[in-house]
């Protein structure tokens, strides 16, 4: 009897523990639980838009924007890391309200309810600094990597001629893997978001260069489920406000050292 009791107590303790830490992990700011939430889905392997900082907090340019937007809409901000491959399921099943994570609009126009684009981005080619690759034509016969289900992959797929010139096209799990493969010489080039590429090169100090010639130009927006246009309109309005009163430029300066935003301009 004693043993059963202690087992039950143990289980109860573990459950409380689980509750406590999931609360810590996911719920930020106000503890008023009756407040409606804005659950923002993001890929936590995606600095500088959304990632884990040294203190274990989820931070990033996009998360800062989202947090400010939630504050202005009087919603409780919840940053929910997701598995990027499953973003559509997470969105459709109502786990998250939106995807806000350097989310490229181009090629996905009809799949989500979008806000206006708030910043620009190029798909660029990253190669080893010592490599002879200087233009897109030099990529002929080379092994090139992209992230799975990324806009880099979409950009390559749109450019049939470029794609066919590659020796091989690899789809990596995340950019870190791709960068490691590039560094170790297993592959010749990585096609990725310029914003992320610059951050990776700067923070890792690795000897890479970015080709001047880009693969595609695109813009980032916030994506909502198609039927959720009401919330989309609210966020859109708030984004315009933030652009007008300079909050957006301020956040952009904090993360990129310059104003890269394009909304309301």
């Amino acid at each position: 009897m004693k043993k059963i009791l202690s087992a039950v107590l143990c289980a109860a303790m573990l459950m409380t523990c689980f509750t406590a830490c999931s609360k810590e992990d996911k719920k930020e700011g106000s503890s008023a639980s009756d407040k409606k939430q804005l659950v923002v889905g993001f890929d936590a392997d995606f600095p500088p838009m959304g990632f884990k900082d040294d203190n274990g907090e989820y931070v990033g340019f996009d998360l800062d924007l989202a947090k400010e937007a939630a504050k202005r809409l009087d919603l409780e901000f919840v940053a929910q890391p997701i598995n990027w491959d499953l973003k559509d399921s997470e969105l459709n099943s109502g786990n998250i309200d939106c995807i806000w994570n350097g989310f490229t609009i181009s090629g996905r126009e009809d799949k989500y309810a979008w806000t206006d684009a708030y910043m620009e981005n190029d798909q660029v080619v990253v190669v080893d600094a010592s490599s002879d690759i200087n233009t897109l034509d030099d990529l002929e016969g080379m092994t090139v990597a992209v992230q799975k289900d990324s806009s880099g992959l979409a950009a390559v797929n749109d450019n049939e001629e470029l794609k066919n010139s590659f020796g091989e096209l690899l789809e990596e799990d995340n950019y870190l893997n791709a960068m490691m493969e590039l560094e170790s010489g297993a592959i010749d080039a990585v096609i990725m978001d310029e914003i992320v590429a610059r951050y990776q090169i700067q923070s890792s100090g690795k000897n890479f260069k970015i080709l001047d010639q880009t693969v595609a130009s695109e813009t980032y927006g916030v994506g909502f489920a198609l039927e959720n246009t009401a919330l989309r309109d609210d966020v859109q309005k708030v984004l315009e406000e933030m652009a007008a009163d300079g909050t957006m430029a301020e956040l952009s300066n904090k993360w990129f050292g310059k104003d890269v935003t394009i909304i309301g301009k």
Binding site: A7, M15, C21, K27, D45
Partner: protein, 223 residues
């Protein structure tokens, strides 16, 4: 050095989730495994076939796929919004991980327990009957204690595998240690965090090994 320290503290929180996931899975899957073993040996052909089918599916398909199904199933099959499935502050994400692991491991445990139960000689049942033991007395006082002794090495195997399998929860974005390690390595653009996570897993399993060895020793009272 500063990097390593921040990796350790961050992995610590993920490690806690891993341990909780591990413990809850064991708490649910071992009793469930006993039931599965019972059902698999049932004289009723319907129960026996159903349990056999269940074991076959659980062992025959990838655990990652099962996790995805348990997690997204309620929405795609029944249209239930997953956010409504959470209990209080506990996300359905975490609940789905525990359910997924438990039903998968129950299938393996079930077969291990069955092998143990069936290895008991029939004479023991007959002797117990002669001595006037009831069926449940025979099972709990005579059979089960010996079964536990016999299946312990196989159970240890499964438990150690479970420690490492918890990392599969990253596929439904449960923030356990492996997920955290991947996030840190992306933020710091280095693989150091993944190696530290590996050390954590090994340490955990080392402790599991010591505990299971201790239990085995304690149980070998006839040798």
């Amino acid at each position: 050095m500063k990097d390593l320290l921040s990796i350790l503290t961050q992995l610590g929180t993920g490690f806690l989730t891993t341990i909780i996931l591990f413990c809850l899975t064991l708490i649910f899957s071992i009793p469930l495994g006993l039931l599965v073993a019972k059902g698999r040996m049932s004289k009723n052909i319907v129960i026996r076939s159903v349990v056999r089918f269940y074991i076959s599916i659980m062992r025959g398909t990838p655990l990652m796929l099962q996790l995805l199904l348990v997690y997204f199933g309620p929405f795609y099959l029944f249209g239930i919004k997953l956010r409504d499935l959470g209990i209080g502050k506990i996300d359905y994400r975490d609940i789905a991980a525990v359910i997924g692991f438990s039903i998968n491991y129950a299938a393996y445990f079930g077969e291990i327990f069955r092998s143990g139960i069936q290895s008991m000689p029939k004479g023991q049942y007959e002797a117990a009957a002669v001595l006037g033991f009831s069926k449940s007395q025979t099972y709990f006082r005579i059979i089960l204690p010996q079964v536990i002794k016999r299946v312990l090495p196989a159970v240890t195997n499964e438990v150690i595998t479970l420690v490492k399998d918890t990392s599969l929860a990253y596929s439904i974005a449960v923030v356990e240690m492996f997920t955290v390690a991947k996030q840190i390595s992306a933020a710091q653009t280095s693989v150091l965090a993944l190696f530290v996570a590996g050390a954590f897993y090994y340490l955990f399993n080392f402790i599991v090994e010591i505990i299971m060895n201790g239990i085995e020793k304690k149980m070998s009272y006839y040798q």
